[in-house]
């Protein structure tokens, strides 16, 4: 009886207490929902920040490296006894021997075999390479005495960085008291200094942490991704255009569609097994090659590219197609002159997301031999190579302590690599984006 009058008065008259309570409850619900949303984002961001900061924090020691200056006599009879000036002979000289001589001259009191071994462990077992490179650049220095900075061994490096505690009892420390004494001798003369670890970017893999770098894995990743792009992009885009624009909608295309969607969900290791059986066993392609890696990864990326391309083609309004057809364009002209350029930003985004996924993949590469110890930097798509994620995995498994920061540093490099790939994607999307 009074229903109508009250409902009429809602807007004008003061609200009844129940209504105010209901309204408040609705506002509360909205606030709660906002809070949940923020909490979800905060948790996600917190985990990401924790993960990233711990990786970055752990990686910091790997970006610097300690060098010790040794007085090295570039003895003619060791380097080039016959004055041949032949680079090959000079290359093969006993460079590590020169380092050992220098250390013995510095500490003549070291006599026993065991002590000498410990003394030689002060510097990297690859330190000779630094002397060699210096002499190859400065051949006139042969015969003279030079003071050269060479890398310390991994344990000494960790000690200087404070990652090995020098106050521990000697039995628990990886560096002995004698080694500490020798190191302090150089430190006191200001002959030990820290530099940026260029090695991390310029050299290939090594079993000595102070010599190990990412250049081989980086080039391997790049070559693999290029092969993936060259194979999966054209095939994926063509397939998607045909399915979306030209194919008749019937049972067969339906089945193909379902299968493509299923393929996107297949575990990547399966593609590795397929690659092993088809490319390596049947086509006799080489193991551990970026060519095979790229082919396997493109199998994995294809469904992603097809799905993304189809989605972005479908999002182009039909009015554009109709207008083009209306002015007399053929189906092909409609697609290549109008629809495809407009769909390009979406296609590129999908492709790059697929490639980024492929760049971080290890499981399928395990099967085709790309998880391997490879020192030389690959030069083409058929030479032996590994990739960044595989390198990270292998370093994480090495027993030497110094590989722990190296592993984190490699993760940082991989993340930066992926970040720059994604940034390129965003750049292209913005560049080609058209609004209508």
């Amino acid at each position: 009886m009074t229903d109508t009058s009250t409902s009429m008065s809602v807007s004008a008259a003061p609200k009844s207490p129940e209504k105010i309570a209901r309204l408040k409850a609705r506002y509360r619900a909205e606030r709660r929902f906002r809070f949940y949303g923020r909490a979800a984002i905060a948790i996600a961001a917190g985990i990401l920040i924790f993960l990233l900061s711990s990786i970055v924090y752990n990686s910091i020691p790997a970006f610097t490296q300690n060098f010790v200056e040794l007085d090295i006599e570039l003895a003619q009879d060791v380097i080039d006894p016959n004055f041949s000036n032949d680079a090959e002979i000079i290359y093969a000289a006993d460079w590590q021997g020169l380092i050992k001589t220098s250390l013995r001259r510095e500490f003549p009191e070291v006599n026993s075999r065991a002590d000498k071994r410990e003394l030689y462990d002060l510097v990297s077992s690859g330190a000779g390479d630094w002397v060699r490179d210096f002499v190859l650049d400065n051949p006139q220095a042969i015969g003279s005495m030079v003071r050269l900075a060479v890398p310390t061994s991994d344990d000494i490096d960790l000690l200087i960085k404070g990652l090995i505690d020098r106050n521990l009892p000697e039995s628990d420390r990886l560096v002995s008291n004698k080694e500490l004494g020798w190191l302090d001798h150089y430190t006191a003369q200001g002959r030990v200094h820290t530099q940026f670890a260029w090695v991390l970017f310029t050299s290939g893999d090594s079993r000595e942490p102070e010599m190990a770098g990412l250049s081989g894995a980086f080039v391997g990743s790049l070559l693999t991704i290029l092969v993936t792009l060259a194979v999966s992009f054209p095939i994926g885009v063509m397939a998607a255009i045909y399915l979306e624009e030209l194919a008749p909608k019937n049972r067969i295309t339906g089945i193909i569609e379902v299968n493509i969607n299923n393929l996107a969900a297949v575990p990547s290791i399966v593609f590795g097994l397929l690659g092993l059986a088809v490319f390596i066993s049947f086509f006799q392609m080489p193991r551990s090659a970026p060519l095979v890696g790229g082919l396997v990864l493109s199998l994995m990326t294809l469904p992603t590219i097809i799905i993304a391309t189809r989605a972005s083609l479908a999002s182009i309004p039909p009015s554009i197609r109709e207008a083009a057809l209306g002015v007399g364009a053929s189906r092909l002209q409609v697609i290549f002159h109008h629809v495809l350029p407009l769909a390009m930003p979406g296609i590129l985004t999908g492709t790059i997301i697929g490639l980024a996924q492929a760049a971080g993949e290890t499981a399928p590469l395990l099967m085709i031999g790309m998880m391997a110890f490879i020192v030389d930097t690959p030069t083409d798509i058929t030479s032996k190579a590994t990739v960044l994620p595989a390198q990270i995995y292998m370093w994480a498994n090495n027993p030497e302590r110094a590989f722990l920061p190296k592993t984190s540093a490699a993760i940082v490099v991989l993340l930066l690599f992926l970040l720059s790939v994604n940034a390129t994607a965003i750049y292209f999307r913005k560049k080609f984006e058209k609004r209508w």
Partner: protein, 349 residues
């Protein structure tokens, strides 16, 4: 867009030509335990010789054998590493594919049980290790008959249940997964070895070997043994975080982390370099690699690589593999291995 055929065609052409090319780089597969040593030698070899640095894949001993014995030809590996001897089945497969091979023993590796530095020092016997890890153990509540003890589900929950001298802590062992050669060796040396304390088990070995294997080498699955994955660095940090846990891994990880963890004394012997080298420490095994004869001379550098591996400066007592955690053979054995490998003595099982 239209050049997809062109690109795939070009790729296929590259693949064909490269497959036909001769290989100038040694390919090695096999054990993850031998991997750190083989890679060190490979790097040294690449740096000091005119040959390319060999490519080494860590596939596990079994996986390596499978690839190695698959056939002769440049698409197959030249050398495989193993943390156990080649099995008869694998050898037969190799022979069936016409592969002649040589065996080289490179040294020893100890398997240690370790816990956090701050935790109490464990003193175990092989028998106690067997009782702590086996799925079925002789019934402790029923006295053994003259030649048989009834195997029951492992009842030991705390170390002190096994022996009052051990800590009253829950048994919590982090060990390698079944795919690992370290696991195989642990089962064989520590578990089967520990079961020798029971005469009826040794008798069973003679009468029913498969039953004996099943009883002594099945690891318990009630949560006391945890498969902790192949990453031993991760295991070390888990041990530091949990002082009650005991980890099972290779000696080199104990050596590298001596400030964080300590090895259990087994049968009265510390897991030290000297004790493992001298054969006093009981849970140690030999490490091997196998050379495919047909590839020697076809792939350049195989003999030189083997010579580098078996040189005194590599696997000798003061060799560069020792700081990497390899425990060298006695000097007479080293000389034998050197001779056998340089003359490519054919392996016969």
């Amino acid at each position: 867009m239209f050049n997809s055929k062109l690109i795939t065609g070009a790729l296929a052409a590259i693949a064909m030509t490269s497959a036909a090319q001769a290989r100038d780089q040694i390919e090695i597969v096999g054990s993850s335990t031998v991997f750190p040593f083989a890679t060190t030698v490979a790097e040294q070899f690449g740096r000091t010789s005119k040959f390319k640095t060999p490519v080494i894949e860590s596939t596990g001993s079994g996986g390596g054998m499978k690839l190695f014995c698959a056939g002769i030809g440049l698409e197959h590996p030249d050398i495989t590493n193993a943390s156990r001897r080649i099995k008869e089945k694998e050898f037969k497969k190799c022979q069936a594919n016409g592969i002649d091979l040589s065996e080289v023993v490179i040294g020893f590796d100890g398997i240690v049980l370790a816990n956090a530095k701050g935790a109490p020092q464990l003193k175990l016997t092989l028998e106690q290790i067997y009782l702590a890890t086996a799925k079925k153990v002789p019934d402790p509540n029923k006295p053994c008959q003259s030649d048989w003890c009834e195997p029951v589900k492992n009842p030991y929950q705390k170390w002190s249940d096994i022996d009052a001298s051990l800590p009253a802590k829950k048994i919590e062992i982090l060990g390698p997964p079944p795919t690992s050669g370290t696991r195989d060796a642990f089962q064989e040396l520590a578990m089967s070895g520990g079961s020798k304390a029971y005469p009826h088990m040794s008798a069973l070995k003679k009468t029913d070997k498969s039953m004996w294997k099943k009883l002594t080498r099945t690891v318990r699955d009630d949560g006391a043994w945890i498969d902790a994955g192949e990453n031993d660095n991760l295991m070390v940090s888990k041990l530091v975080a949990n002082p009650d846990a005991v980890g099972v891994f290779g000696y080199s990880f104990l050596d590298q982390n001596s400030d964080k963890i300590k090895g259990a004394i087994v049968n009265g012997t510390q897991p030290t370099f000297d004790n493992i080298a001298g054969g006093k420490y009981k849970i140690s095994r030999s490490l091997f690699f196998y050379i495919k004869h047909a590839h020697v001379g076809t792939v350049p550098g195989i003999q030189e690589f083997v010579a580098e591996f078996t040189s005194e400066k590599a696997f000798g007592e003061e060799g560069y593999l020792v700081p990497k955690g390899l425990i060298p053979l006695p000097s007479t054995d080293r000389a034998t291995q050197r001779n056998n490998s340089s003359s490519l003595t054919k392996l016969a099982l």
